[in-house]
Amino acid sequence: MKIIRQIGIIFAICWFSEVIESVLPFSFPASVTGMILLFICLAAGILKIEHVQEKAGFLLENMAFFFIPAGVSIINYFGILKHSAVQIVIICIISTIITFTVTAYSVMLTVRWMNRRKQHE
């Protein structure tokens, strides 16, 4: 029953997110709305971590598994990819390095700035 209740809570949140998605005037993905809703419920104390722990653990630990069908559908797109595979690989490599560098340096600069401000006080 415990697991069923947890599944119920999480699926209810997902359904409610879809309802929100359908009434919002702009497009905002329901899955992300669900994440924000669940966070608010936890932070506001409406839900306790024990109410969702096992189910969340199950979903998070096996996250990769749920993407197999999405990945397999690549079978339908071999044609498009054949021409651009090399470019896509290069784009992924360069932008990963750029993203890593920009994030690391912006965090380091922010931390340094905060420390300097603290010393002034």
């Binding site: 999480i10 699926f11 949140i13 997902c14 997110s17 702009f26 905002f28 993905p29 329901a30 899955s31 992300v32 669900g34 994440m35 924000i36 669940l38 966070f39 936890l42 969702v52 722990q53 189910k55 969340a56 979903l59 096996n62 996250m63 990769a64 598994f65 749920f66 993407f67 197999i68 069908p69 999405a70 990945g71 397999v72 559908s73 690549i74 079978i75 339908n76 797109y77 498009i80 651009s84 470019q87 896509i88 290069i90 784009i91 992924c92 360069i94 932008s95 990963t96 390095i97 993203t99 890593f100 560098t101 994030t103 690391a104 340096y105 912006s106 965090v107 380091m108 922010t110 931390v111």
Partner: protein, 226 residues
């Protein structure tokens, strides 16, 4: 034969077996190149091609698995919530880092796609590639992206992050574990995070936080682009 493979049980069972083989292989070989998801996708694609099983038959089971994507994304909230203390302490650098990282990722992908002359739909598919798969897909899909291209690019990026992270940390002389963790999470989501966890507790926690926060920021940015 086609009546048999179009049962939803077929697709689910095939996916589970393929994933189990992927997980086993990774445990044996211990290299980020052997990502269980990539191995599982290759195995399933191989089986479908060899036995001439149409994707639609496989997808009868695939639909069942797809249903868990949104709940799995929602549960990222639990991962963020369990790191609430560290989030409160470092909220400002986290916010700055994730915003800068998400912007750098989207802008660099866009620029490179233009440079290589990729078409509109591929560009849209690649733009959210640094965030976790469910969020990347929900950014790319409604805007005309090709979902499997997004999925493969996201996983590939994750694997790259896992490989490059230790090198970049040394090369860029990053001594702050907060900066290192956020950079790993922002550039290579969950696959990179598994590497960050190996580097240290702070790195792991920061990388995990960056997954969810960069995801939300990327969604917000994408609302203004499209």
């Amino acid at each position: 034969m086609s009546e048999l493979t179009s049962s939803p049980y077929f697709g689910v069972a095939l996916s589970v077996i393929a994933f189990a083989i992927g997980v086993k292989l990774q445990q044996k070989l211990k290299t980020p190149v052997c990502n269980p998801l990539i191995i599982a996708i290759l195995l399933v694609v191989g089986v479908l091609l060899i036995f001439k099983i149409p994707y639609e038959s496989y997808y009868e089971g695939g639909k069942v698995i797809d249903m868990f994507l949104a709940p799995a994304t929602a549960c990222l909230a639990v991962a963020i919530y369990s790191k609430l203390k560290i989030l409160k302490e470092y909220w400002f650098p986290i916010l700055v880092g994730c915003t800068a990282g998400s912007a750098a990722s989207m802008a660099s992908v866009y620029g490179l796609c233009r440079l290589f002359g990729l078409d509109e739909s591929l560009t849209i598919s690649l733009i959210p590639k640094s965030v976790t798969t469910p969020i990347a897909v929900s950014v790319a899909e409604p805007n005309g992206g090709v979902v499997p291209v997004t999925v493969v690019a996201v996983i590939f990026t994750g694997i790259l992050g896992g490989i490059f992270a230790p090198l970049l940390i040394r090369l860029l002389r990053i001594k702050d574990p907060v900066a290192a963790g956020l950079a790993i999470g922002a550039s290579s989501h969950a696959v990179g995070t598994s590497k960050a966890v190996e580097l240290g507790e702070t790195e792991g926690a920061m990388s995990g936080l960056a997954i969810g926060i960069c995801g939300i920021i990327t969604v917000i940015f994408s609302m203004f682009i499209y």
